[in-house]
Protein backbone atom coordinates (compact mmCIF):
# COMPACT_ATOMS: atom_id res chain seq x y z
CA UNK A 1 0.00 0.00 0.00
CA UNK A 2 0.98 3.66 -0.27
CA UNK A 3 1.41 6.52 2.13
CA UNK A 4 1.63 10.19 1.19
CA UNK A 5 4.58 12.41 2.15
CA UNK A 6 3.64 16.07 2.34
CA UNK A 7 6.76 17.29 0.53
CA UNK A 8 7.59 17.68 -3.17
CA UNK A 9 10.42 15.49 -4.43
CA UNK A 10 12.13 18.63 -5.81
CA UNK A 11 11.21 22.20 -4.83
CA UNK A 12 9.03 24.28 -7.18
CA UNK A 13 8.54 28.02 -6.67
CA UNK A 14 7.36 29.70 -9.85
CA UNK A 15 7.09 33.47 -9.43
CA UNK A 16 5.73 34.46 -12.86
CA UNK A 17 2.53 32.77 -14.08
CA UNK A 18 2.70 31.87 -17.75
CA UNK A 19 -0.34 30.27 -19.37
CA UNK A 20 1.51 29.42 -22.58
CA UNK A 21 4.06 27.28 -20.74
CA UNK A 22 1.30 25.59 -18.72
CA UNK A 23 -0.38 24.62 -21.99
CA UNK A 24 2.76 22.79 -23.10
CA UNK A 25 3.82 21.27 -19.78
CA UNK A 26 0.43 19.71 -19.05
CA UNK A 27 1.40 17.05 -21.59
CA UNK A 28 3.75 15.55 -19.03
CA UNK A 29 0.80 15.29 -16.62
CA UNK A 30 -1.70 13.38 -18.73
CA UNK A 31 -0.14 13.12 -22.18
CA UNK A 32 1.09 9.97 -24.00
CA UNK A 33 4.59 10.08 -22.47
CA UNK A 34 3.54 11.76 -19.24
CA UNK A 35 4.07 10.80 -15.63
CA UNK A 36 0.58 9.34 -15.13
CA UNK A 37 1.10 6.95 -18.04
CA UNK A 38 4.57 6.07 -16.75
CA UNK A 39 3.34 5.27 -13.25
CA UNK A 40 0.37 3.19 -14.44
CA UNK A 41 2.60 1.36 -16.93
CA UNK A 42 5.20 0.29 -14.36
CA UNK A 43 2.83 -0.41 -11.48
CA UNK A 44 0.68 -2.57 -13.78
CA UNK A 45 3.59 -4.44 -15.36
CA UNK A 46 5.32 -5.30 -12.08
CA UNK A 47 2.88 -8.07 -11.08
CA UNK A 48 3.98 -10.68 -13.61
CA UNK A 49 7.71 -9.95 -13.80
CA UNK A 50 9.82 -13.14 -13.59
CA UNK A 51 12.51 -11.99 -11.14
CA UNK A 52 12.74 -10.01 -7.93
CA UNK A 53 14.98 -7.27 -9.32
CA UNK A 54 12.64 -6.25 -12.12
CA UNK A 55 9.63 -6.38 -9.77
CA UNK A 56 11.45 -4.09 -7.34
CA UNK A 57 12.61 -1.69 -10.09
CA UNK A 58 9.10 -1.39 -11.57
CA UNK A 59 7.56 -0.99 -8.11
CA UNK A 60 9.97 1.68 -6.95
CA UNK A 61 10.17 3.66 -10.21
CA UNK A 62 6.38 3.48 -10.60
CA UNK A 63 6.16 5.00 -7.14
CA UNK A 64 8.62 7.78 -7.97
CA UNK A 65 6.59 8.61 -11.10
CA UNK A 66 3.65 9.44 -8.82
CA UNK A 67 5.88 11.99 -7.10
CA UNK A 68 6.76 13.38 -10.55
CA UNK A 69 3.05 13.57 -11.40
CA UNK A 70 2.63 15.79 -8.36
CA UNK A 71 5.59 17.94 -9.45
CA UNK A 72 4.22 18.46 -12.97
CA UNK A 73 0.77 19.23 -11.54
CA UNK A 74 2.39 21.78 -9.22
CA UNK A 75 4.21 23.44 -12.14
CA UNK A 76 0.97 23.71 -14.14
CA UNK A 77 -0.92 25.02 -11.10
CA UNK A 78 1.67 27.66 -10.28
CA UNK A 79 1.91 28.73 -13.94
CA UNK A 80 -1.85 29.34 -14.11
CA UNK A 81 -2.37 30.86 -10.66
CA UNK A 82 -3.80 34.39 -10.67
CA UNK A 83 -4.05 34.78 -14.45
CA UNK A 84 -6.61 37.17 -15.91
CA UNK A 85 -9.19 35.96 -18.43
CA UNK A 86 -7.44 38.01 -21.11
CA UNK A 87 -4.11 36.32 -20.39
CA UNK A 88 -5.75 32.90 -20.51
CA UNK A 89 -7.44 33.74 -23.80
CA UNK A 90 -4.26 35.20 -25.29
CA UNK A 91 -2.30 32.06 -24.42
CA UNK A 92 -4.78 29.86 -26.27
CA UNK A 93 -6.07 28.31 -23.04
CA UNK A 94 -9.66 29.45 -23.65
CA UNK A 95 -10.81 25.97 -24.63
CA UNK A 96 -9.13 24.42 -21.59
CA UNK A 97 -10.61 27.10 -19.32
CA UNK A 98 -14.08 26.40 -20.69
CA UNK A 99 -14.01 22.76 -19.59
CA UNK A 100 -11.65 22.76 -16.63
CA UNK A 101 -11.17 26.32 -15.34
CA UNK A 102 -7.74 26.37 -13.72
CA UNK A 103 -7.95 22.80 -12.43
CA UNK A 104 -5.15 20.47 -13.48
CA UNK A 105 -6.70 17.94 -15.87
CA UNK A 106 -4.78 14.93 -17.27
CA UNK A 107 -4.53 15.70 -20.97
CA UNK A 108 -1.91 16.11 -23.68
CA UNK A 109 -0.64 19.47 -24.90
CA UNK A 110 -2.99 19.10 -27.88
CA UNK A 111 -5.98 18.62 -25.56
CA UNK A 112 -6.44 14.84 -25.78
CA UNK A 113 -7.70 13.52 -22.41
CA UNK A 114 -5.53 10.84 -20.76
CA UNK A 115 -5.94 7.47 -22.44
CA UNK A 116 -4.47 4.15 -21.35
CA UNK A 117 -3.85 3.37 -25.03
CA UNK A 118 -0.53 5.15 -24.56
CA UNK A 119 0.80 2.37 -22.33
CA UNK A 120 1.25 -1.34 -22.88
CA UNK A 121 1.15 -4.43 -20.65
CA UNK A 122 2.05 -6.98 -23.28
CA UNK A 123 2.18 -10.17 -21.23
CA UNK A 124 5.88 -10.63 -21.91
CA UNK A 125 8.62 -9.34 -19.63
CA UNK A 126 11.03 -8.55 -22.49
CA UNK A 127 8.37 -6.68 -24.46
CA UNK A 128 7.29 -4.81 -21.32
CA UNK A 129 10.79 -3.75 -20.32
CA UNK A 130 11.62 -2.67 -23.89
CA UNK A 131 8.44 -0.58 -23.79
CA UNK A 132 9.61 0.94 -20.50
CA UNK A 133 13.03 1.80 -21.95
CA UNK A 134 11.35 3.49 -24.92
CA UNK A 135 8.94 5.31 -22.60
CA UNK A 136 11.79 6.79 -20.57
CA UNK A 137 13.52 7.99 -23.75
CA UNK A 138 10.28 9.48 -25.09
CA UNK A 139 9.73 11.28 -21.78
CA UNK A 140 13.31 12.55 -21.86
CA UNK A 141 12.80 13.85 -25.40
CA UNK A 142 9.56 15.54 -24.32
CA UNK A 143 11.28 17.22 -21.38
CA UNK A 144 14.03 18.46 -23.70
CA UNK A 145 11.42 20.06 -25.96
CA UNK A 146 9.77 21.62 -22.91
CA UNK A 147 13.16 22.91 -21.71
CA UNK A 148 13.63 24.57 -25.14
CA UNK A 149 10.17 26.14 -24.87
CA UNK A 150 10.68 27.34 -21.27
CA UNK A 151 14.22 28.66 -21.70
CA UNK A 152 13.37 32.16 -20.42
CA UNK A 153 12.05 31.13 -16.98
CA UNK A 154 14.66 29.60 -14.64
CA UNK A 155 11.96 28.74 -12.05
CA UNK A 156 10.36 26.38 -14.57
CA UNK A 157 13.60 25.23 -16.15
CA UNK A 158 15.13 23.94 -12.91
CA UNK A 159 12.49 21.30 -11.99
CA UNK A 160 12.19 20.31 -15.69
CA UNK A 161 15.93 19.59 -15.75
CA UNK A 162 15.59 17.47 -12.62
CA UNK A 163 12.72 15.50 -14.18
CA UNK A 164 14.72 14.99 -17.39
CA UNK A 165 17.64 13.60 -15.40
CA UNK A 166 15.40 11.14 -13.60
CA UNK A 167 14.26 9.75 -16.99
CA UNK A 168 17.90 8.99 -17.79
CA UNK A 169 18.50 7.23 -14.46
CA UNK A 170 15.30 5.20 -14.90
CA UNK A 171 16.42 4.20 -18.41
CA UNK A 172 19.64 2.91 -16.87
CA UNK A 173 17.78 0.90 -14.19
CA UNK A 174 15.38 -0.60 -16.74
CA UNK A 175 18.35 -1.60 -18.89
CA UNK A 176 19.85 -3.46 -15.93
CA UNK A 177 16.49 -5.08 -15.14
CA UNK A 178 16.17 -6.17 -18.79
CA UNK A 179 19.60 -7.81 -18.75
CA UNK A 180 18.65 -9.63 -15.55
CA UNK A 181 15.45 -10.96 -17.13
CA UNK A 182 17.28 -11.99 -20.29
CA UNK A 183 19.84 -13.90 -18.23
CA UNK A 184 17.10 -15.61 -16.27
CA UNK A 185 15.21 -16.62 -19.41
CA UNK A 186 18.44 -17.97 -20.94
CA UNK A 187 19.16 -20.25 -17.96
CA UNK A 188 18.92 -23.98 -18.49
CA UNK A 189 15.72 -25.27 -16.99
CA UNK A 190 15.42 -28.49 -15.07
CA UNK A 191 12.08 -30.18 -14.60
CA UNK A 192 11.57 -32.59 -11.74
CA UNK A 193 8.36 -34.56 -11.79
CA UNK A 194 7.25 -37.60 -9.90
CA UNK A 195 4.43 -38.91 -12.05
CA UNK A 196 3.21 -41.42 -9.46
CA UNK A 197 2.37 -38.79 -6.86
CA UNK A 198 0.71 -36.33 -9.19
CA UNK A 199 -3.07 -36.50 -8.57
CA UNK A 200 -3.98 -34.86 -11.89
CA UNK A 201 -1.85 -37.26 -13.88
CA UNK A 202 -3.87 -39.09 -16.54
CA UNK A 203 -2.08 -42.38 -15.85
CA UNK A 204 -3.05 -42.32 -12.19
CA UNK A 205 -6.62 -41.46 -13.05
CA UNK A 206 -6.90 -44.41 -15.37
CA UNK A 207 -5.63 -46.69 -12.64
CA UNK A 208 -8.28 -45.39 -10.30
CA UNK A 209 -10.99 -46.21 -12.83
Amino acid sequence: MWTYNKVLQYPINIKCPNAKLAKFIISQYGGPDGELAASLRYLSQRFAMPDQKSKAVLNDIGTEELAHLEMVGTIVHQLTEGLSIDEIRAAGLGEYYTDHGVDVYPQSAAGMPFNANCLACKGGPIANLQEDLAAEQKARATYEKLIDLCADDPDVLDPLRFLRQREIVHFQRFGEALRGVQDKLAEKRFFMNNMQNCPNNMMNREEEN
Binding site: M1, R46, F47, Q52, K55, A56, N59, D60
Partner: protein, 137 residues
Protein backbone atom coordinates in the same frame (compact mmCIF):
# COMPACT_ATOMS: atom_id res chain seq x y z
CA UNK B 1 14.11 24.93 21.28
CA UNK B 2 12.40 24.22 17.99
CA UNK B 3 10.53 21.39 19.55
CA UNK B 4 9.50 23.59 22.47
CA UNK B 5 8.08 26.17 20.06
CA UNK B 6 6.46 23.44 18.11
CA UNK B 7 4.75 22.14 21.22
CA UNK B 8 3.63 25.63 22.27
CA UNK B 9 1.88 26.18 18.95
CA UNK B 10 0.17 22.81 19.06
CA UNK B 11 2.67 21.34 16.63
CA UNK B 12 3.81 17.85 15.96
CA UNK B 13 6.20 15.55 17.74
CA UNK B 14 6.48 11.83 17.97
CA UNK B 15 7.17 12.01 21.67
CA UNK B 16 4.63 14.63 22.69
CA UNK B 17 2.67 13.75 25.81
CA UNK B 18 -0.72 15.30 25.52
CA UNK B 19 -2.17 15.90 28.96
CA UNK B 20 -5.64 16.06 27.41
CA UNK B 21 -5.35 12.46 26.36
CA UNK B 22 -7.18 10.84 29.23
CA UNK B 23 -9.38 8.43 27.44
CA UNK B 24 -10.72 5.12 28.58
CA UNK B 25 -10.80 2.20 26.20
CA UNK B 26 -14.56 2.11 26.52
CA UNK B 27 -15.24 5.81 25.99
CA UNK B 28 -13.23 6.72 22.93
CA UNK B 29 -13.27 3.36 21.35
CA UNK B 30 -16.97 3.04 21.81
CA UNK B 31 -17.28 6.43 20.07
CA UNK B 32 -15.18 5.26 17.12
CA UNK B 33 -16.48 1.73 16.99
CA UNK B 34 -13.20 0.05 17.89
CA UNK B 35 -13.21 -2.95 20.16
CA UNK B 36 -10.03 -2.12 22.01
CA UNK B 37 -7.69 0.82 22.40
CA UNK B 38 -4.70 -1.44 22.02
CA UNK B 39 -4.89 -2.87 18.51
CA UNK B 40 -1.65 -4.82 18.85
CA UNK B 41 -1.17 -7.92 20.95
CA UNK B 42 1.64 -7.87 23.46
CA UNK B 43 4.11 -10.57 22.63
CA UNK B 44 6.91 -12.14 24.61
CA UNK B 45 10.23 -10.46 24.12
CA UNK B 46 12.44 -13.57 23.90
CA UNK B 47 12.98 -13.63 20.15
CA UNK B 48 15.74 -16.24 20.31
CA UNK B 49 15.04 -19.94 20.13
CA UNK B 50 11.96 -19.56 17.95
CA UNK B 51 10.92 -22.56 15.90
CA UNK B 52 10.02 -21.77 12.26
CA UNK B 53 6.28 -22.18 12.90
CA UNK B 54 6.44 -19.83 15.86
CA UNK B 55 8.41 -17.29 13.82
CA UNK B 56 5.83 -17.48 11.02
CA UNK B 57 2.99 -17.09 13.48
CA UNK B 58 4.60 -14.05 15.06
CA UNK B 59 5.28 -12.49 11.68
CA UNK B 60 1.63 -12.93 10.71
CA UNK B 61 0.51 -11.53 14.05
CA UNK B 62 2.75 -8.48 13.79
CA UNK B 63 1.70 -7.82 10.20
CA UNK B 64 -1.96 -8.05 11.19
CA UNK B 65 -1.34 -5.61 14.02
CA UNK B 66 0.51 -3.24 11.70
CA UNK B 67 -2.37 -3.47 9.22
CA UNK B 68 -4.93 -2.76 11.96
CA UNK B 69 -2.98 0.23 13.25
CA UNK B 70 -2.36 1.52 9.75
CA UNK B 71 -6.06 1.32 8.90
CA UNK B 72 -7.01 3.01 12.17
CA UNK B 73 -4.60 5.87 11.36
CA UNK B 74 -5.94 6.22 7.79
CA UNK B 75 -9.51 6.25 9.09
CA UNK B 76 -8.77 8.74 11.86
CA UNK B 77 -6.84 11.02 9.48
CA UNK B 78 -9.80 11.17 7.10
CA UNK B 79 -12.14 11.88 10.02
CA UNK B 80 -9.78 14.54 11.41
CA UNK B 81 -9.57 16.21 7.98
CA UNK B 82 -13.19 17.27 8.47
CA UNK B 83 -13.17 17.37 12.30
CA UNK B 84 -9.76 18.92 13.09
CA UNK B 85 -10.78 20.08 16.58
CA UNK B 86 -11.95 16.72 17.90
CA UNK B 87 -9.62 16.19 20.88
CA UNK B 88 -10.66 12.58 21.44
CA UNK B 89 -9.87 11.65 17.86
CA UNK B 90 -6.58 13.54 18.09
CA UNK B 91 -5.59 11.54 21.18
CA UNK B 92 -6.52 8.26 19.59
CA UNK B 93 -4.55 9.18 16.46
CA UNK B 94 -1.52 9.99 18.60
CA UNK B 95 -1.81 6.72 20.50
CA UNK B 96 -2.06 4.64 17.32
CA UNK B 97 0.80 6.53 15.61
CA UNK B 98 3.09 5.74 18.55
CA UNK B 99 2.08 2.08 18.49
CA UNK B 100 2.52 1.98 14.71
CA UNK B 101 5.98 3.52 14.89
CA UNK B 102 7.17 1.11 17.58
CA UNK B 103 5.67 -1.98 15.98
CA UNK B 104 6.88 -1.28 12.42
CA UNK B 105 10.34 -0.58 13.80
CA UNK B 106 10.36 -3.89 15.67
CA UNK B 107 8.94 -5.83 12.72
CA UNK B 108 11.43 -4.44 10.24
CA UNK B 109 14.38 -5.21 12.49
CA UNK B 110 13.35 -8.86 12.59
CA UNK B 111 11.64 -9.60 9.27
CA UNK B 112 13.06 -7.05 6.84
CA UNK B 113 11.98 -3.71 5.41
CA UNK B 114 8.38 -2.66 4.75
CA UNK B 115 9.50 0.54 3.02
CA UNK B 116 12.65 1.69 1.24
CA UNK B 117 13.20 4.14 4.10
CA UNK B 118 14.35 1.40 6.47
CA UNK B 119 18.12 0.86 6.28
CA UNK B 120 19.56 -2.67 6.11
CA UNK B 121 23.11 -3.97 6.09
CA UNK B 122 22.12 -6.19 3.18
CA UNK B 123 19.52 -5.18 0.54
CA UNK B 124 16.65 -7.29 1.88
CA UNK B 125 14.05 -5.31 -0.11
CA UNK B 126 14.23 -7.81 -3.01
CA UNK B 127 14.27 -10.95 -0.83
CA UNK B 128 10.74 -11.14 0.52
CA UNK B 129 7.79 -12.06 -1.72
CA UNK B 130 5.65 -9.11 -2.85
CA UNK B 131 2.15 -8.49 -1.53
CA UNK B 132 0.61 -9.72 -4.78
CA UNK B 133 2.53 -12.98 -4.41
CA UNK B 134 1.10 -13.74 -1.00
CA UNK B 135 3.92 -12.07 0.90
CA UNK B 136 3.09 -9.65 3.68
CA UNK B 137 -0.47 -10.99 3.89
Amino acid sequence: MLEENNRMFGGCSNTITNSDCQYTPQGINAAFGYNTANLSQNMDEDDDNMCPEEARRRKQQMLNDIRSLSFAIVELAQYLDTHPNDQKALCLHQEYCEQYRDLTDKYQRIFGPLTIYFPCNRWRWIDEPWPWEGGMC
